[in-house]
Amino acid sequence: MKLRFACVACLAVFGGSVVPLEAQAPTRADTIERARDIKAAQLEPDEVSPMERRLRALRDQKWLERASSGYNGFRAKIGNMVTGGGFAIGPEYFREDLFRGNMVARASAQFSTRGFQKYEAQATLPKLAGGRVSLEAFGSHRNYASLQYYGTGPDRPKDLRTVYRLEDTSIDGIAAIKPVRHVKMGGSLGYLWTNVGPGDDSRFASADQVFTPAQSPGIDRQTNYLRPGVFGQFDYRDNPAGTAKSGGNYVFQYSWFLDQKLNQFGFRRMDIDLQQFVPFFNKTHVLAFRAKATLTDTDRNQQIPFYLQPVLGGSDDLRGFRPFRFSDRNSMVMNAEYRWEIFSGLDGAAFADAGKVFPRRGMLNFRDLESSAGFGLRFNANNATFLRIDTGFSHEGFQLWFKFNDVFLGRVFGTTTGQPVY
């Protein structure tokens, strides 16, 4: 139809070969006017395609933002379960507009494909004193059906994989101040109820069937803790909330775990986490380093329950080993990553990890380190990693990790739950 009209217009305007063109179009302006004539005869609304309309609605009606923020504060919480817990999902209530945006509150319940459960509630006042002071209350209950445990000590064989159930409930209050730029310090006070039981995974023996209380303190009896702590942080990363490319983040924490029931399992714990990011080629390439150590200490006749001992292995530290592969009273790990931009939205990474667990603080040295190395891909948007795929290789084989966070942002398992710096 359009073509037929155009041909008619062509004859009408230019007269085909019968009427000399010059006679019909004596000026340049006329040729332009004739093109306009044809266009004018075919005007129609300049609508966009259905696909473009849908994509526009996605943006204008903020479907992605709504999906992430939920309906009236309710949304789905996906992932963020402890490694080995399987795929986790559950409802979350999240509000950051309370008291005119001065309070952030959230509560969530998550259930995983491996039967893990996690319930959390958190209320934060982040803007007190012009943002220099923050207060936070955090409570959680976790019921992890089958956490891996290989026994305490650096040389436990890979085949000695057992599982146990961890149930704990904690409440913590945290106060922090920012006296100067980049510096944050504060203290916390919390209470922790713990319970462990037989692991719920038929493929592996339950830890309580394999290990004795002498080998694994606390496997038969659990206690509750009053948990005060202090912390300090110097953070000058260029992007603290996402994937940092320059700067450093140095964290120190000291926590007292005061046994409130059995007077057998009291201990003190010090966490040091040092991160440094060295960019080059205009931040398209980054060398990222982390050194992390957890050192514990007990009074005489006190022990550290196995389920609160520092662990190594997994997606965030020794990536060539299974989750929680090593545990003991102390741990240290060092990571070095070379990251480079493949294109805007995807980074490549090559990494090397080394670390160990050890029974005495005097063994904090570079001897007898376990090591792994590997490579990965990091998909990012808005300067944050939303999917990390790492493959780590070690003398125990290889591990493939799919994670939804940055490698150095992972929380320490089993301790200091709710500390703001993790």
Partner: protein, 511 residues
């Protein structure tokens, strides 16, 4: 239909080369546009379709290329709804360059009424009515880079204006919170689009996120609302279906193809459809669509919300680039990754040493930019080269950058980039322009001042058949053609057509 219009225009061109009114300086008065749909484009769609799809009519892989259209017989875009010849053709004074699209309509009155706000995002903003009830869009700098985006908006708007485009009036303003008065029943949308009544507290919350000057005031860009009725942005391909005056596909418009060079000069990597703007305006009793360039906050090293990425000037994604980086483990970094930048927060990431006009591209493929030919590039380059150092300095001063070193650095970078553009594109065609006939001889300016061996061969020219017959000198009457060549530039020629002692048209050829 666009092909039919092409065909008709081509028929006209083949049959009769020149008309009595050639070269046309202005487009004919626009047709009245009864109504035009106010539609928005999707930036997601724009990105995906341009990055992975086929948009517009590309240059043929073989055979003669599609020359730029919407130009007169001299190869110049005509004054009209898209473009107005300015600095290159009628040299603007320093005062005019500084004034840009206007300097007399800055927000007036001691108090401004906030009638809208954008609270989400890192760089929020307001819509205000000033004392004279004029509407302005207020945009701020990011906390990390005071003066950066506002300076870029002011400077680039003036450059693009001088280069011939329609742009809004952008003013740098300084104000105190007391000058802002909340209008009645103003609605504010949160990050999820949920609307609620705006309060004075919201104004405070927005101002907390933006930098203040040493004397405690706030600095912002006040962009005067463009006259007329907004109807959404024009694309870089095709034509508007509801505009009878829009008959040349945008990917074939010289002013759109040449915009690539201007964007490269000013690092306008955000040159995509949604940063253009169509407005239904009234003029001389007619209503027509005028096309604007908008939003220059992401130019000159600014990324609006932060300093621009060093990747600016390269596509987000290319198969070749990504494969290279993946398989070399990043050990063959792209050229832009090795650029060195000044450490000026007010500038962002801008430089002139690593800049290569031939390599520069916007964030993702742009069909008009991709279709550009050497004569499109020459047309743009000659305009860039028309800015003297002093003129660049004058326009940059409108950015009101408080750190003198930063301002000087920006000027230096623009001069370096200008010179590279001239050197690059003046080498691809004979860089002659401003032709004139003086006492029976043909004269011109060598814009590169590097082609001393030019020679001219005269012909008579049959305007209907296109036949040429050699002559010994310029014909005294009728049509003539002068073929200009230079042994130092093999394959590059210019054919200049005369009609009874006046210049009728120009063809630029290259190999």
């Amino acid at each position: 239909m666009k092909h039919v219009i092409f065909f008709l225009m081509a028929v006209a061109a083949v049959g009769q080369r020149f008309y009595a009114d050639d070269p046309l300086d202005r487009e004919p008065a626009p047709r009245n546009v009864e109504k035009a749909l106010n539609r928005k484009l999707s930036d997601y769609y724009d990105l995906l379709s341009h990055q992975f799809g086929h948009v517009g009519e590309p240059q043929p892989k073989s055979g003669p290329p599609i020359r730029a259209q919407a130009v007169n017989t001299l190869g110049e875009p005509m004054d009209g709804a898209w473009y107005t010849k300015r600095h290159y053709d009628r040299r603007m004074t320093l005062e005019e360059l500084k004034r840009g699209p206007g300097d007399s309509l800055a927000p007036s009155g001691s108090q401004w009424t906030v009638i809208g706000a954008k609270s989400e995002g890192i760089t929020p903003g307001f819509t205000i009515l000033d004392g004279a009830k004029r509407r302005y869009f207020i945009k701020f700098d990011p906390l990390t880079n005071p003066e950066m985006a506002t300076a870029a908006d002011s400077i680039s708007a003036r450059f693009f204006y001088a280069l011939g485009y329609h742009v809004p009036q952008n003013y740098i303003i300084y104000f105190t919170p007391e000058q802002l008065v909340l209008g009645d029943d103003v609605q504010l949308a949160d990050a999820t689009g949920k609307k609620r009544k705006m309060t004075s507290r919201d104004i405070y919350e927005i101002l907390v996120k933006v930098p203040r000057t040493k004397d405690g005031r706030y600095r912002a860009t006040a962009s005067l609302a463009v006259e007329g009725k907004p109807i959404g942005p024009p694309r870089y391909d095709g034509t508007r279906k509801d505009d009878p005056n829009d008959v040349v596909p945008h990917e074939h418009r010289r002013d759109m193809r040449g915009l690539h060079v201007f964007s490269a000069w000013l690092a306008h990597d955000d040159s995509r459809a949604i940063n253009n703007f169509d407005s239904l305006v009234q003029e001389n009793g007619r209503q027509y669509i005028r096309h604007y360039l908008l939003d220059f906050g992401s130019t000159l090293g600014s990324g609006s919300q932060r300093a621009n990425s060093p990747r600016s000037g390269a596509y987000y994604f290319t198969w070749k680039g990504a494969s290279t980086q993946l398989f070399t483990l990043g050990l063959a970094p792209p050229h832009w990754a090795r650029a060195h930048y000044g450490h000026y927060p007010a500038i962002g990431l801008f430089e002139g040493d690593a800049f290569d006009p031939e390599r520069w591209v916007p964030e993702y493929p742009n069909p008009a930019f991709l279709n550009r030919l050497p004569d499109d590039e020459f047309w743009a380059a000659k305009q860039v080269m028309a800015f003297t150092d002093q003129e660049i300095r004058t326009i940059v001063s409108t950015g009101e950058i408080s750190e003198r070193e930063a301002e000087a650095f920006l000027v230096e970078c623009l001069i370096k980039r200008r010179d590279k553009i001239g050197k690059t594109y003046f080498a691809k065609v004979l860089p002659f322009d401003r032709f004139r006939l003086q006492g029976g001889t043909l004269a011109w300016d060598d814009l590169s001042q590097s082609v001393p061996d030019a020679r001219v061969a005269w012909f008579s020219f049959n305007n209907m058949s296109g036949e040429r017959t050699p002559l010994t000198s310029m014909p005294a009457s009728g049509y003539g053609a002068a073929e200009i060549s230079a042994p130092s530039r093999p394959g590059q020629t210019i054919v200049l057509y005369t009609d009874s002692g006046r210049i009728a048209g120009i063809d630029r050829n290259w190999r």
